[in-house]
Structure formats: C-alpha cells, structure tokens
Subunit: 388 residues, 4 copies
C-alpha cells in the first residue's frame, strides 16, 4: 500500500502526465475515432476522469455534485453494471462536450479528489484511487497508440512530436538462452499494486527451451516479407490467411512502400525503415507466421516470465502463444470494478513486456497484457523460442 | 448572365454567408460525420473552396500555386474524372487539415479569385464562377441540416442558434385548388441561372387534380402516428416496411417521446412539438404512407410545378411521387463539371419547393431537388393531392 | 371474363405447363436458392398452389381441409396481411416438404379446385381463379430464369433442355421509326385480363422521337465491352459505378471469357457467343451505360407502348427509362390480393415487351414488368431511341 | 499399425457406416446448408471420398482415371495447398452433382481403393488410408449433427430416426473427485492411431482440484435459465454478452418454450425436455456463464485428461477452459495432409470426451476436439470443477 502522501503525489502526476501526452494535439485530433478500437483522445480524458467521479467522489463525498449529469453516460465504457453506455462505435460521433469542457471536467474532479484525499485516508479509498491511477496509466499508453493511428492514417501524415523515441538503438548481440526443464512459480508475489489477473501464484512445469535475448528486427522481418511470407498459406493459421487476404495485408501497419523502398510512419513523421529497430505494429497472426517461416515458435507467457530476468525487455509488447485465461483460483472482484479483467478472458492472446509507449512503473515481469490476435495498432513485436 | 460587378459581389457574399452559418459552431463540431450522408462542416468549407481552385484558379490563372498539394485529394467528392477521391465514409476520420487551416485555405482562394475576377471577365469564366456560387449555396443548406444532425444526435442536445426559425406560423386555411386537365409547359424558361436538369422546356399532359394549398402539419401527422400508422403494413411500400422495422422507426426524425408527450429537437434546442408547424424530417416512405392513410396521394413534380403559383411554398422540401429522371433532350454537360446531375438519375425521388434552410434566391418553381426515399435529415415535408 | 369452361381448361393447362417446365430437373435442383432473388423451384410449385388454397378453397369450400396446416406458412411470400411468412432468404434452407410432397400438394389442390369450379361459377370466384392463373404464369417465367441461374452458376454447367430456344434468328434490318409529337393514350383498354397497374387509361404528351425497330445485339454490345465501356465512369450512374466495381462486373451475366473468346451459358449448355442474337442478362445500369456510349437513350415506357405496333418484340424484356409508378387514379385492390403491385412502386424500373421465357398469352403491349435496376437474371435487353 | 486385413475391413466398414447414417434421409436433405458451419450431407459424402482419391488413388495408382475432373474442385475443403476450393458458404448452392452421382463416385473410389489395397500394402499407404478412415469418422459425427440442424430448423420438425438415443439414462450419483496437486503426464502414449495434436507427451503441474463425476443435467441448467442467468451481464464474457443479445439467445439450441413448457427437438422429433439427461447444444459462452452462476469453473483440458479415469464420459463433448494450442514440440506434418490441425490453433476452445454422435473407437482420453466458443450445433455439454 502506498502511503497517502505518495498516493496524492502519484495521483497528481498521473493526471498531469495524461494531459502532457495530449499537449501536441490540435483540438480536431481529440474528436475522431477512425476505427472501433481507437478511441477519441477526449474520450480517454473524460473516461479516466469519470472513473474517479463514479467510484469515489459520487460514493464517498457527502453532497458531491457531479460536474454534469450526462457525463456518466458519455464517458462510461464497458462497465455494464453501472448504467447504459455509449455504444463504442459511436464515440467518434460526439462533438460535445468540447475539449475545453472535458479539461474543465478534469480540473473539477482532480481538485475535488485532491481535497477529499487530503482529509480522508482509509485503506479502501486508497485502494480505489490506486486502481484509478493504474487505469489512467493504461489509458496513457492507449492515448499514444490511438494518436499514432489518428495521425498515421491521415493523408497529410502529420507529426506528433519530434522527440518521441520509438526506435531506440541497441548493441545487444542475439543469442539463445537455455532454460532447464522443471517446476517454476508464476504470478505476482510482491506487495505493490498489481492487477487481479496476475494473482494466484502457482507452479507450472516447463520443458527445456531456448529463448532469444533480442526482439526480431525490421531487417529480419523484411526478409520474411521479401521471401513472400505473406503469400505462403502454409505459414498461416486458417483465419489469419482469410484476414490478410480480406484486408490486403502485405506488411506491418504503418509501412509504406514508396517507389520500391520501405518507409515507416512514426510519431516523428514518415521515415526510412529503421532496419536495426525491433519490428512493430504486427498482429499475433503475423508474429506466428514469421515464427513458422523461421522454423521456431513464440514463447508461452510462462516461458517468457521465467526467462525474462535474463534479457532486456520493454520496447515492444511481445506476443506469446498463450491464450488469455484465468490463473488457478482466479476470482473476479465483486461489483463494477471487478468487471474489467475477467470478462475478456476468451479469444485473446497474452502479450508480455511493455513498450516505448508504456508509462514508467506501469509494467512488471508478471504483467499480463492481452489483445485480439488481429490487432496491430499497439507497439507489438516478437521474440523467438527454439526447442532443444 | 450576371454582370461582373454583381457576380463579384455575389461571390463575396456567398463566401461570407457560408462562414456565418458556421459561426456558432465549436471547433469539434466541424470534424465529425455521424452518418454517411452527413459531412463534417469543415469538409463543406473545404470542398466548396476546392471547386473554385480546381475549376478556375488552377486552370486559368498563370502560375497559380495551389494552397496545398494534397487538398484536391482531401476535398474532392464525386468528381470521378478529376482524380481519386477520399472515400465518403472516411471524411469523418480526418482531423487534419485543422479548421483554422481550412479557413486559411478559404481566404487564400477567395482573395485569389477576387483578384483574378477583377482583371478577367470572359463569359466562360463567369459561367463557372456562377456554378461555383450556386454549388456553394447548395452546401449552405447541407451545412445547416448536417449541423442539425450532428447536434441533434448528441446526448447533450446542444442548441445551434436561438434565432433560427424552423417553424414559422401561418394563418392560411387549408383548401384544395382544382387544376384542369390539359397540356402544360414544364421546365425553366428564364434567363438567369438554373441547373441543367431543369432545362429542356417541354409539354406534359396532366389529368384534372386537386392540390392542397397547405403543407401537412405536425398535428395531422401526429394523428397518423396515434392511429398506428407505423404498424399497418398495408399503408407502406414493401421496402419501406422493411426499413421501418429494421431501424425501429416510429416517428419522424428528431421527435422524442418524453413521458408520453412529444417533443422535437430544433436548432433552438429541444422544444414541445409545435402542432401548427408543418411536419418535417420525414422520408418519402413516410410521406407516401401518410398519403395512403388519408386516402389521397402525393403530387407528381409536374402537378406541383403547374400548381405552385396558387399556393405558398418554401418552408419544407416537398416529396413528390416523381422519380428523378432526365427531361426530354437532356444532355450531360461535357467534362467533370457535368458529372453532377445526370449521374444521380436513378433510384431517387424529386422534391420541390425549398425549406427554411435554403439560401435566399437559391430555389425557384422549376428547381428539382432529389434524395433517396429513405432520407430524413433534410427539412422535408409533404402536400396532398386528391383526384376528382 | 372468361367463360367457365375456358377458365377450367386454362386452369388445368396452366397447372400442367408449370410441371412440364420442371420435368427436366433433378430433385436436387428443386431445393436450392443461390441468391436471394432466385427461389427454389419447389417453392414456386408450392407457392402457386398455396395461392389457390388460400384465396379460394379455404374461403369458399365448405369444410375444406387444408393439405397441411404448416404449408401456408412455408409457401407464403409477400402477402403480409395473411400471416407470418418464411423470410425470403430462408427459402433455400428448407429440405422439407419434399419435392414429392409438393407434387402431392399440387394434385390435391388442383383436383379440389377443379371439382369446386365444375359446380360453382360465380363471377367473383372466376376473377380470383383468373388472377391465380396469371400469377402462376408469372412464376412459370421465374421458374425458367431461376433454373437457369441454379444450373448456370454450378461449376459443372449442366444443360437444362436441348430444345429451349433462347436466341432465335431474325432477318430484320435495323432502322429508326419516327413518332410525331402529340397526345397519346396509355393503358389497357381491352376486356380481357390485365393487372391493376395497367388500368387507368390516360393521356400523355410525347415529344417527337425515333425508336429503333430492333434490339441491341451481342455484336453491338461486345463492341461496347471491347471499347472499355465498363471502365469509363462518365458513362455510368454513380451507384452503377459502385456496383460494377464492388462486384467486379465486366460483361453480361453468363458470359465467360475462355482463352480470349466469349462464350455464353444457355439453357442448352455453354455455347459460343451468338453475335446476331439480342444481348441479354444485363442490368438497367448496363443498358443505360450502353445507351450513353452510343449517344442515344432508352425509351420511356410510354414511348415504347405507343411505338410497339411498328416493331417486333417479345424476345427480351426491354429496360425503359421509366420508374415504376402508379398511373393516374391507381387504387390498390382491397385486401391481401391487392398487396402485390402497389407495394413495389418505388426504386424499380419498368420493363416492357416479353421474353423467350414468357408463357404464351402472358404479355401484351400494356404489360408493365418491373425489377430493381441491378438485376440481371431475367432475359433482359434493350432498344434505343434517338431524339430528332 | 493396423494389419492390412484389418485395415481393409475397417475401410469397408467405415464407408458403409457413413452411408447408413444417411439412409433415413430424403434426397432434398442432402443438398442444403442452412448455416455456414453445417455442410450439406452430400458434400460430406463427396469430400470423404475425394480424400482417398486425392491422396492415394491419384498419387499411387498408375493410370488412375478420376471419376470426374471437376470433383476435386467441388469437394475440397480447407486444403489450401491442393487447389482452389469451393468457398465454404457456397456449398449449399450446388444442386449438382446429384446425390445419386455422389453415391456412384463413392462406389467408384471405394472399389478402386479396395482393389489397390488388396495388391499393395506398404506402410506409407497404410498410414494415409488410416488417416482417411479417421477423417471419414469425423465426418460421420458431423453428418449426424448437420442432419439434426437441417431437420431441427425446418418448420415441420421432421424426425430423423426413432431409434437414435440422444439422452441415455444414468443412475450415477453426483460427487466431486479430489485430485492431488502434482506433476502429471499428458498426451497420447499408445501405439494405435491418434492425431498429431495429441502427440508430444509432456508433463504438466496441476494444483489440487475437485471434479464432478457427472455432467450438468437439463434440470440444473433449467434452474439457471429460470434464475435469469441469461439476463445477468456479470456472469458472461463481454463478447458472449454481445452474442446472446445480438442473436436473442435465451436457452440452449433446440429448446422450444411451448405454452410455458420447455421441449427439445431431438433426432426422434420434438419431445418434452428430459430433465435427467445431460444438457446439450450449448456454447462455451453458456457453459462458462453457468459455471459462474454456480460459483465453480470449467476444468482445463489437462485436469480433464488426468481425472477422466475416475468418471464415465462419452455422452457430450465437454467444454474445457483450455484454448486450443500446440503441445510442446508440436510440428505440423509436411504437405497438404498436415494442413489440418495446426492451422486452427487460435481462437478455439478444446472439448474433451465424446458424444452420442461419435463413432465407435473414434475417441480416447487424449483426444482433443475443438470449436469456436459460440458454436452449439454439436452435442456439447459441461462438467464442473471446484477448487479446494
């Protein structure tokens, strides 16, 4: 449990970090939703604010007056038990509340919560504030990837920020790390915050395996593209093959073939493809097909968790072979707050690690991220495993 | 032909009128496209500007430098022969160019065109400018109806403008005007501007008919609703019956039943249903079903044109029974400018009259408006005819 | 009014003709529905039978016992006021009743109706029987075109019947017939059967025009294809352009380009394209685009009706420029029987003439056929008009 | 490896069993495809035959003449590397080849293969024949469930076979079996046939658990229905909640509420709901929601495999919590035969056990069946697990 002072500091910093992410945006950028998975930035701003209003201020502050009676409806997402929600595909059809009103809403809730926390500090409330902080950090990462999608699919290809480093250089030499067969412990054992899906420390038996200490690079992935990897049905899952053919997928998202040379749209604008950088914006389907082409495979999430202390990670969310399922003994938390993790435990793949868009202190070796296997707008990548 | 001075004045006024329509908007309102038929206001601002740049400045002004090389792509609409266009459903996914950049684009083109027209005045160019002015006036009406849709489908139901009068009062007493059978002339005979689809003056033979001098009111339409008009399949076309059932249509667009009483969203905000005002925001399907319920019928566009001198019109676009087809001898104009009218002459219905959103001087007795029979976001209404 | 004896003869012959059309089929061919517009042959057999059971036997025959209580549900089509119907797209999912049961149903109803008619002959019943006969003749034509679709879209391209003549030869020389401007009478004036949509004889004023005495041939249409007619957007309606591009339409239905030479699937099997035969299986969109390419136009249905006595017709249903609308004074018949014609009077085009699949005595100069503009599975064709 | 004599006997019996399953069908029942997952019976008959023709006769029999050159195209399914396939949704649009021709095709291939096997017996060929036999047994089960769907969705609800026992009675008393934590071996260790996805014997570590020795009954499931289980969003996965609401799912497939009492369509026709029988025709989503309502959970496939020797199984395919993934060391077989299992290893759930429709000797404790979580037309059911 974070002490109250730290919690307050953390709360205020998180709120301000979110707004800093949006600082380079034009008002127009806050409003649109080009695909269903990408939410308008102003919705993220409002939704993270609504969380604190809904689960703390409106419940624990006597006579608290909501900023606006309709905002709970506008900024709710998947919390079915709290009330009717704005259908997700409609988020991009709402020009009001304006961006400026959303920022007023943020200030109102931030200052009310700050005042409340300065006077009140029971553990239950601290727990919810902490969840709210982590919830907002998740949305910070989504803000960055959603902004990238909004700008990167505009025909003018505007830049977001000249200083955002997507493709850090690395001088690591690739090699495979051998992990012995045996029983290993999985799950979060610490005393700080973690999500409920990481709890339930339990043993797993792993066979011997060899895991690469580096991510697959653009250079390696380009070889796959140029070896007609996207045209060989034997490398792909059946549904993946339908997917690449229906959507005409031939390269990772944001790659552009301009007069025979590959470029990539980055948050700094359109650039030459950086061959040394880890490949990114690929689906699980593509990660899997690449691994087949290499004659290797993706790690399971358990293999990843056990081996991660032997390699660097954090540049890309790494697709694993593991489906997102409950750990032994997993119980959903009671009530609306508990709706979140459990209800997505079907048809999604676990990603491990973290990315250049992940906020500081918002990932850890046991963190379980998850997405549908066809999604590519996150900073996703892959690492390979060889059996002995 | 308008003299050059008048043309210039008219050009400048039209450009400024368009911007005045948008004055009450927030920046966010300019960006979204809630349904495919409603374009973002900033797209209208850019598209009407692109017209002048594409068809005059870039063709007739030596060394004209386009404001931005990509704008022709972004702001083109259906002019297939000019270049690839932004797919219509994607207009609402473009946060850039910003509203402010679009206004700069407008100023740039307006001032270049003004300078050019002050020095050049051949008839061909005047013709195109005149088309451009009328094109922009059409978009002024669309701006108003699109803004109404954008605000009227927002859960906060914001007001556009307290002074916009949608529902003027009238003290006319309803009565039927008898028109004798005989040969009548149809089509535009004047010397001012008209669209090519009104040309080709020709004779039609009309049977005797009786046409009402007033539009159907909300009061009359409410009787139809309350008599279960929306539940009686015999009143509806087969495809209309599918349509109302698929979309759950039970009342005109913008009607809200709040605790048993009908309200209507107007550009002044949510109001009690004004029973004396002419009904509006109905589809052709609904207008037809209403006429069946009354045991009467809609006029053809020819009956309307012949009879219109005997009654007042201009508050609502009036659905007619006529499909939108070419007049005898109709020829599409050559080239891209000619693409517009002819290519829509299938599966649409003609509307006659004009509405509270129609710019001054932008309609006339021979004007042929047209929309798909299921559309409701225009200020549409109806007038009945009885056979003798 | 047909005398009772003739009516009985006609009834029995119609019933037997329908079955003769199906004689070459395999049982499997009776069952499937490859597209929504094509019904399974066994459905046609049952539906035409249901008509007589529903509107005569069950109403006028004391103690009549329906053949099967569920068949009214299975074989109803668009008669909304009679009961719930099998959703049209589900017709091809019904393996039962079997073909043999449907033929038993036919025999049962035919013999009951025959017995009833031999004893009863009031005019009202005769009227309904006559409608039922004509209704069944309409389905005879649909049977032929639906069978062609079922076989012609099977990869084995089976033959239907070696003796069916789709492409009769003609030695007519093409020439244009001039029709003077003036007032003409339109609509059915005789005393035999006609549909309600042909009634309401009325005057129309026609401008002078010149109409070709022959249909457009495959040879002429092939020139259009080879002149890139399907690639020139200026020739097409906007929605037609979307249609040909969405569905990859490049030639008429049933044309196959095999190693550079065009063939056509006919009811006799796959054959070389018969250049002298009138083109067929084209949509209105294609007929219109062809006319634009020729610099001519399609006739209106009134022009066709007035001119038809001067040329031969009956090989192809001829697309006209006219939308399907009610004639002056048109009233839908009361009750379920009246549902048919009026409820389709929107978004369809009138076709005039008749085709090689039309039963004898089932068309006439005033007959108004109608289909959606994108449909091609009927034996459709076109004839051109030139203005003076 | 089966000896040649046994293999031949087994081959002939399998071929004849398949045909016996179809014996009660009318020809019409062989043809239709009411939903994409259900194939027409005649397609199953042809496809299982094509397998032997494609992978043995055409490869190993000198001068073998295929029965028909187009059948490889018509009866191929997912074997992408063999040639273009009939798009799955089009299978129900093919009236030809006829059922009788398909039976001729079966006889032709069966007798050619029999003759060939009597003379040739190398191990490689025996392996493929064995795969073909198992492949055909899989389709025997699909035939039964597809026939049930075809008949059970027909408004006449015809019976398939009075003697088919879907709901055997059992006198077992429910109790939970405790399994200790520890390392267990998973995967097929025998020497008979198994699929590649069962291979790779490996260790897993299981926590202690308690598994019920009986399946959930209709009685227990009805309590869930009547306790509004389908209306409580907290019990459902997010995508499951969307699914039940989009499709209006309120009970298992084939349940009918007739005047307040539940019935179930069975292969013997419509019957009262058998409360003692194990519930069937539920999706994974429903199995999971039921388990949540009970406060218990589904077993993983490993828990099931370890515990199965302690209880009876084989009446229902039992949904497990496990996603369908490769076992450690899994390698797809090379070539077209190897396409099958691996390419479905994403977004599917493993089912264990077997059902009343599973052919004899076609399941075993290590058998891994798999389906998408929304599918219900198989004889699916569930068994619960409690943690200690």
């Amino acid at each position: 449990m974070i002490l109250t002072d730290n919690l307050l500091t953390s709360f205020i910093k998180t709120r301000s970090d979110t707004e800093e992410i949006c600082a380079p945006l034009e008002i127009e950028d806050y409003v649109i939703q080009p695909i269903v998975d990408v939410s308008p930035p102003k919705w993220h701003l409002g939704h993270t604010t609504w969380f604190f209003e809904e689960f703390i201020l409106s419940k624990y502050v006597a006579n608290y007056k909501r900023f606006h009676p309709e905002y709970a409806y506008v900024f709710n997402s998947y919390y079915e038990s709290v009330g009717k929600r704005v259908v997700r595909t409609d988020r991009g059809n709402l020009s009001r509340p304006t961006v400026s009103e959303v920022y007023e809403y943020r200030d109102y809730v931030t200052s009310h919560l700050q005042a409340f926390l300065e006077e009140n500090s029971n553990e239950k409330i601290q727990d919810i504030v902490e969840i709210g902080i982590h919830h907002e950090k998740q949305h910070q990462e989504l803000l960055i990837t959603d902004i990238k999608y909004i700008l990167g699919n505009n025909p003018l290809l505007p830049k977001y920020n000249e200083t955002f480093t997507e493709n850090p250089t690395s001088d690591q030499v690739s090699q495979y790390i051998n992990i012995e067969e045996g029983i290993y412990e999985i799950g979060y054992k610490g005393h700080d915050f973690c999500y409920d899906n990481e709890l339930g420390v339990h043993k797993v038996f792993l066979q011997e395996y060899n895991i690469c200490n580096t991510l697959i690079s653009n250079k390696e992935y380009l070889e796959f593209v140029e070896d007609n990897g996207y045209k060989n049905s034997l490398l792909w899952h059946a549904e993946a093959w339908d997917w690449i053919n229906s959507y005409g997928i031939k390269v990772p998202l944001y790659w552009h073939n301009i007069e025979g040379r590959y470029h990539q749209y980055t948050l700094r604008g359109l650039k030459d493809l950086d061959l040394n950088a880890p490949v990114t914006h690929i689906s699980y389907y593509e990660a899997f097909a690449f691994s087949q082409w290499k004659g290797e495979r993706l790690p399971t999430e358990f293999e990843w968790e056990v081996a991660q202390q032997y390699f660097q990670w954090g540049l890309r969310w790494e697709w694993t072979e593991s489906a997102y399922s409950p750990y032994p003994g997993y119980k959903k938390a009671i009530g609306a707050l508990g709706e979140y993790n459990g209800k997505f435990m079907v048809n999604q793949k676990v990603l491990r690690g973290g990315s250049v868009a992940t906020p500081q202190n918002h990932t850890r070796p046991t963190y379980r991220n998850f997405f549908h296997p066809y999604l590519r707008w996150q900073f996703t990548g892959l690492r390979l495993v060889k059996d002995t």
